[in-house]
């Protein structure tokens, strides 16, 4: 896979390191020469100094052959334009933009960016989940489908302990499996839940609150 990454900071470095370790063919565009030199010493990647929303720069970075372009600069406008130029002029099939203003997320997708994500939103919702319930881990949204996957650990006092899965009366949500003492059990309608069970829950995002309440007693 050929990836073009536009960015400035630590995020660029750590993502770059990850992509390189997976064997992806990586090109980084970063505005400051000093930063570029540091990155090129540390990463197995081609590093270019320049403006990532400049068409000539994108071409030099191999945009015609790229599979994905990631625009992660702190300026929303630069990320949008880089993605649009990559898509429209160079036919990059997938573009990903970081948005700083969460309100821009939907707009960017409407304007053609394949995936726009807001770091503020992602971090905010993670913190909310962590503070709302310490028993819920790893909420993963399944891209574009409005579905989330969650792992819920059942506490002693959970209302679900001692009930069968069918008695939880889940709507728009299913228990995919239960992990009990390190073993994966297929969830059946008649299976009873125990304290300490790790329940893998797949739910429609707007039904997630109800399902969470049925399992932990907390939440909406």
């Amino acid at each position: 896979m050929r990836i073009i990454l536009i960015g400035t900071d630590k995020l660029t470095y750590f993502l770059g390191r990850r992509f390189a370790s997976k064997g992806y063919f990586l090109t980084i565009i970063t505005p400051e020469e000093e930063n570029a030199i540091a990155l090129s010493r540390k990463l197995k990647a081609t590093v270019l100094t320049g403006n990532g929303s400049d068409p000539a720069m994108l071409q030099e970075a191999g945009a015609y052959q790229a599979d994905v372009l990631l625009a992660l600069t702190p300026k929303d406008q630069d990320n949008l334009i880089a993605c649009q130029i990559a898509q429209d002029r160079y036919g990059v099939p997938k573009t990903v933009a970081l948005v700083n203003d969460p309100e821009n997320r939907e707009i960017f997708e409407e304007l053609g960016v394949s995936v726009a994500f807001s770091a503020t939103e992602v971090l905010g919702s993670m913190i909310e989940q962590q503070t709302a319930s310490a028993d819920i881990r790893n909420l993963v949204p399944v891209t574009d489908s409005g579905v989330t996957i969650t792992e819920v650990v059942l506490a002693e006092n959970s209302p679900a302990v001692g009930s069968a899965i069918k008695d939880l009366k889940l709507q728009g949500a299913v228990v995919a499996c239960v992990v009990r003492r390190g073993r994966v059990l297929l969830a059946q309608r008649r299976s009873y839940l125990h304290a300490g069970d790790r329940v893998l829950l797949i739910s429609e995002s707007d039904r997630y609150g109800q399902a969470q309440k049925a399992l932990t007693g907390e939440g909406a």
């Binding site: 400049d54 406008q77 334009i81 429209d88 203003d101 707009i107």
Partner: protein
């Protein structure tokens, strides 16, 4: 002097949002204001509002036009017309697209310095003006005229 945007006698007052209050933005704001239009200027750097001439009688909003909240504060949804003339091509192109698709403003114009980028966005049907292209055209035209004069004179 900028000529009347809506043709000589059509004096209907329009609500115009101008993004960027540098030399071009402040010039446009003053002229359109004195033509009787209602103007709101959006500028990130408060000190740039000092560029506005005494003819300017509109409002100003200090904020980053890349934030939707700033555009709402300037009541962009009510505007007849938006001119994106900051010194940054990318912000002009972004605001112009948001003005068209989110706020559905009928007339949107963006200044884009980079002729390369301008060509791409013209394909996307964003109405752009490139000062670089304009001055190149004028220089070439003027130069052509001079060359012609020269060759006429030398022919005499």
């Amino acid at each position: 002097m900028v000529s009347n945007l809506f043709g000589g006698s059509a004096k209907q007052s329009q609500y115009i949002v101008i993004v960027g209050c540098g030399r071009l933005g402040s010039l446009l704001a003053g002229d359109l204001s004195s033509q009787g239009h209602s103007i709101v200027v959006i500028e990130q750097n408060e000190s740039c509002l000092g560029n506005l001439s005494s003819e300017f009688s509109g409002f100003s909003v200090v904020g980053d036009a890349a934030e939707l909240a700033t555009l709402r504060q300037a009541k962009v949804d009510k505007a007849d017309c938006l001119l994106a003339v900051t010194s940054e091509d990318n912000i002009n192109l972004m605001v112009a697209q948001i003005a068209r698709t989110v706020f559905e403003i009928p007339i949107v114009l963006a200044r884009v310095f980079d002729p390369d980028r301008e060509a791409i966005y013209q394909e996307l049907e964003i109405d752009t003006i490139s000062p670089t292209q304009l001055s190149a055209d004028l220089f070439l035209q003027r130069l052509g005229e001079r060359f012609e004069n020269q060759s006429q004179q030398s022919a005499k």
